[in-house]
């Protein structure tokens, strides 16, 4: 009986860790897709009238894609921690470690997409102010970076 429970614990630990790995990436990547999509629509609008503004528009459009990269990093790190003897406790830690980048990444990517779209509108009017648009969008990035750090710190709890 005890043997079965221990065995189950080990497998549940891995299961929870894999769940976390999946969550971290898919939430963050979903947010990035939405954010890049929003900015992309705005970029297409501007470029259709003024093809010369393609480069600044593209730079701004790409900004919300970083959240997916962060999610990817966390997923890889969690997968690196998984082994046959992962305890239930560690499994839970890894699951919860993925949540900051998952949720924060999801929302911040969408909002960053909106800021980027607004920045693209700004570039349509004043191409020389592109850098300011990028700075405004980077403000949202800060929270995704915090989330990434927290996720990494949490993962490091698992020896």
């Amino acid at each position: 009986m005890e043997f079965i429970l221990q065995n189950l614990n080990a497998q549940t630990g891995s299961f929870l860790a894999i769940l976390g790995a999946a969550f971290g990436f898919f939430l963050a990547a979903m947010g990035s897709s939405k954010g890049v999509g929003l900015a992309g629509e705005a970029a297409a609008g501007v470029v259709s009238e003024d093809p010369g503004k393609f480069v600044p528009c593209m730079v701004l459009q790409a900004m919300p894609s970083t959240q997916a990269i962060y999610g990817f990093i966390i997923t890889i790190m969690i997968l690196g921690k998984i082994n046959a003897n992962l305890s239930l406790e560690h499994g839970f830690i890894l699951l919860f470690a993925a949540l900051p980048i998952g949720f924060v990444g999801f929302l911040s990517a969408i909002y960053q997409g909106r800021v980027a779209a607004a920045g693209i509108n700004m570039v349509a009017k004043r191409p020389e102010e592109m850098v300011k648009g990028i700075i405004l969008a980077s403000m949202v990035e800060v929270f995704a970076i915090f989330a990434l750090l927290i996720s990494i710190l949490l993962i490091n709890n698992v020896g």
């Binding site: 629509e41 705005a42 970029a43 609008g45 259709s48 003024d50 509108n121 349509a124």
Partner: protein
């Protein structure tokens, strides 16, 4: 409107923001003013790609053709890029009512007045002509149909062509307000209400000047604005200063104060009209800093309309050889 809907307009808004750069700005208007001949002034707007038949227009006197074409071009552009075509209904329906008025009056007075018709209605002009001729309004919107029947009926009894104007104008703004409300967008509803209010304020001053009675005012003043028609009707005979006092604390305080002051001194509503137009422009300028939603598209339409109005003012001024100061005085505020 929900945020989800708002992002549908991202492409259209970004495109419009890029196109806005091509609106005539102050320096281009100045260039038109500085032109020696009307032809030179016209060059500025042909350079700005006005209309379709640019190369064929060499005579400054047919600039109207260009302006009409430019309006059509604007509506086509906006409805092409907008994911929701019905947002421009409020403006296009206004043109329908205009066309109906022109057609009915032309018929009753027994004259052909095709040059006053506009192509940019929600109902195709050819179809509109046919329907009015055959009196079959089955597929017209209910408010328009009702208004046409009412005005035909009233005209039949009174033989007064003015009644057609009164009934159709009243219905026109009712329709605009209804269309705006169905869009469920505060910006658009606010715009139509502001349009109604400014029409009413101008009308109110004219009514006072012509010493019209309450009954007539009741028929003329438009309902649905943010200032109730009772306010005007109750003050039809009170002194001018008390009217200014009354409207001072509405958002039209500024318009009324200087506009009515000018009206008192000169007896002309020209200044009041300009202030009203500027008020509307001030309202739509709020959309300048929005990057999603339908407001920037609506604002672009109003901006273009105002631009065309300004071009018309400059061109007529140039053709009639008015001094620049006089032309400048009449120019409306620009969007850019």
């Amino acid at each position: 409107m929900s945020k989800k809907n708002e992002t549908n307009f991202l492409y259209a808004v970004a495109k419009i923001k890029a196109i806005e750069n091509r609106l005539l700005d102050k320096s281009k208007i100045e260039r038109m003013l500085d032109a020696y001949t009307p032809e030179d002034a016209l060059k500025v707007i042909t350079e700005a790609d006005y209309g379709y038949s640019v190369s064929e227009v060499s005579d400054a006197h047919i600039y109207e053709v260009l302006l009409e074409e430019e309006m059509q071009k604007t509506i086509k552009l906006l409805s092409d890029i907008s994911p929701q075509k019905e947002i421009f209904d409020i403006f296009m329906q206004k043109n329908d009512y205009h066309n109906v008025k022109v057609l009915l009056k032309a018929e009753f007075l027994g004259i052909e007045k095709d040059e006053n018709l506009v192509e940019t209605g929600a109902i195709e002009l050819r179809k509109m002509k046919m329907s009015v001729k055959e009196r079959s309004f089955i597929d017209f919107p209910p408010i328009l149909r009702q208004a046409i029947n009412d005005s035909l009926d009233t005209f039949g009894r009174t033989n007064d062509p003015q009644s057609i104007d009164l009934i159709l104008d009243q219905a026109c703004y009712k329709q605009m307000l209804e269309s705006a409300k169905s869009l469920n967008n505060d910006f658009v509803t606010g715009l139509v209400k502001a349009l109604i209010d400014t029409v009413n304020i101008k009308m109110f001053m004219r009514l006072r000047a012509l010493k019209k009675n309450w009954d007539f005012a009741q028929r003329v003043l438009l309902k649905g604005g943010s200032i109730d028609t009772d306010v005007y009707i109750n003050n039809l005979e009170s002194p001018v200063d008390s009217v200014i006092e009354l409207l001072r604390y509405t958002s039209y305080g500024n318009v009324c104060e200087s506009g009515i002051e000018d009206f008192k001194n000169t007896g002309s509503v020209a200044a009041l009209e300009k202030l009203c137009d500027n008020y509307i422009m001030g309202y739509v300028k709020k959309a300048k800093y929005l990057s999603m939603g339908m407001a920037p598209l609506i604002a672009y339409y109003v901006a273009k309309e105002t631009e065309i109005k300004n071009v018309r003012i400059v061109m007529t001024g140039k053709i009639n050889k008015l001094p620049n100061e006089q032309i400048k005085e009449r120019l409306r505020d620009l969007y850019v």
